[in-house]
Amino acid sequence: MFGKVLIANRGEIAIRVMRGCRELGISPVAVYSEADRNALHVQMADEAYLIGPPPASESYLLIDRIIEAALACGAEAIHPGYGFLAENAQFARACEQQGLVFIGPPSTAIQLMGDKTAARRAMQAAGVPVVPGIDRFLQDDDEARQVVAAMGYPVMIKAALGGGGRGMRLVHQEQQLGEALRAARSEARSSFGDPAIYIERYVTNPHHVEIQVLADAHGQVIHLGERECSIQRRHQKVVEESPSPLMTEDLRVRMGEAAVRAAQAANYRNAGTVEFLVDEHRNFYFLEMNTRLQVEHPVTEMVTGIDLVLAQLRIAGGEPLGYRQEDIRLTGAAIECRIYAEDPASNFRPSPGRITVLQAPAGPWVRDERGVFAGGEVSPFYDPMISKLVVWGATRQEAIARMRRALGEYVIGGIKTTIPFHQWLMEDEDFLAGRLDTGFIERRYRPQAAPPDQLAQDVAVIAAALDHRQSTRQAAATPVSQGDHDALNPWKLAGRVDLMRRRG
């Protein structure tokens, strides 16, 4: 096993990987931008190296700087996390060329799956069903108009190098097409450095179901069942669960086999996820393969008992999986709520800022993976996800009750978060019944104020008044000016100098 691994990421995922490293006796190394000197992932690492200014394009996306840091500190491997360079074939290749182990698939597999149109062709060749669409990049708006006219609305515009919902636009009518193309290209350029896009027919109200696969270096490929990821906003997942409420044993076997075939067709190795759209008749279509660890990997860990980060590290170290397909059992139900620094009452608008209060949930079968802390700053430069809250229950119903309980314990102050949305969702009739599709939030979510309750309202006003009085008293107790004799007291002087230095 490796002695030292560099983690080319930040936030909660860097911490998740560090925990896995420590459990295997590996020393974790962090990299950070100038905006992240105080970040939790830096504090939790054994070593940390500055790689550049705050914008990701000048730090976390700089292949040369990261490889340089890894070589300089003597790391044997690099874990990319998710996002940033995780699905960058050039980065994986650079690692391979420098003799560093890239903890993920071979660069060739990333390249194949990263080119969404090439991936579609490869999947069709491997007998995996795909969403109807075009298998090449679009040059200009005129070509796009022709393609869409032939395909019929609605259509989904996607970034060729896409992922994470960025560079995606759903278009219902021709009038929307021009603006949607502009926006998709602009986001594709800023997120992936390439404005290329392609178009698929939009499967109306589909379930988004994905299959986790693991492939070792000894030719064994297995799947770990599914994750239901239909609850999305801006085409980005917000809540995931395993198993999927729509799953049947037969469908799981067929989708699992298709996912394994997809991985084999790409000569895949390490952990990966094959995403499918499933329509109301339980027909499934290959959407894309994510060649990395997913944000929502914990729900699979909770129901299978397999630690995916440990599996990644062991596979990258050349170890065989050590279990076979028939050893995999899904037990109970797990749910993940992504806590974003966003205001659900204002259309999930970003809400960066300083976290003033943080009380985290705990207790049986509750797992809260945070990248932030009380007093810390949520930077506008990076992804808004600040935590993933995961629970397990013997049944879906028990998991939902536990999630409600955990959300009720969770207090994050200073910024807006998606916690109120999750609390709404855990009470929603359709969610409880498992009636989910990717249009769920848009169709059902209307932020609403809590029902009037005089006592609760008065308590809020009283708490604010008490806090106001507390601040007034503190201000009165702090001396504004001091007499000359104080200047002669060396202890007070030292204290003041220290205070001034800290303020500065």
Binding site: G413, A460, H468
Partner: protein, 168 residues
């Protein structure tokens, strides 16, 4: 201590009357009286026992107001001394036919979509701001004429910063 507290557009009078160090505080909100056992386990955290019922309240300041979280309820409260000026109502989006469009969050201006003098419709996109890798369109809340543009593409902006002014 007599205070005025504005929450949800309504101004309440709040009277806090300290007991003799037992932790009990007699409170009057408008005409409702409470005897509350108050503890302050951590800065910004108030534990209130009201007739045996437990309320755990977290309070933090944000843009001159106090944000309060009690259980799954949240409130935004502006508290001032009853002797001082009355608390302002929530800042209106349009005052006297003038819309001051401000940045809802800190981020970077991607594009300014309008020009000075241009007429804009209600809901028309004015500025695109990028924060946390997302583009947010800032829209007009009423029709009017663009008067004053204070930002340009690539400029970093803070939450609450004035972007442009529209005369309605």
């Amino acid at each position: 201590m007599r205070l005025l507290a504005n929450a949800g557009g309504v101004t309440h009078t709040v009277e806090l009357d300290e007991g003799n160090g037992t932790g009990f505080v007699r409170v009057k909100v408008d005409d409702r009286e409470y005897l509350i056992d108050v503890a302050n386990p951590a800065p910004g955290h108030y534990s209130l026992l009201v007739r045996g019922k437990v309320f755990s309240a977290f309070v933090w300041q944000r843009r001159g107001r106090r944000e309060v979280q009690v259980g799954d309820r949240s409130a935004s409260v502006e508290v001032v001394s009853a002797q001082g000026p009355r608390p302002s109502a929530r800042p209106a989006a349009a005052v006297g036919g003038r819309q001051e469009i401000t940045a809802p969050m800190s981020g970077r201006v991607v594009q300014v979509l309008v020009q000075p003098g241009q007429m804009v419709a209600d809901g028309e996109s004015l500025v695109i701001i990028e924060a946390m890798k997302m583009e947010t369109e800032i829209r007009a809340v009423a029709r009017g004429q663009v008067k004053d543009i204070r930002v340009s593409a690539n400029l970093a902006v803070e939450a609450g910063q004035l972007l442009l002014v529209i005369d309605s």
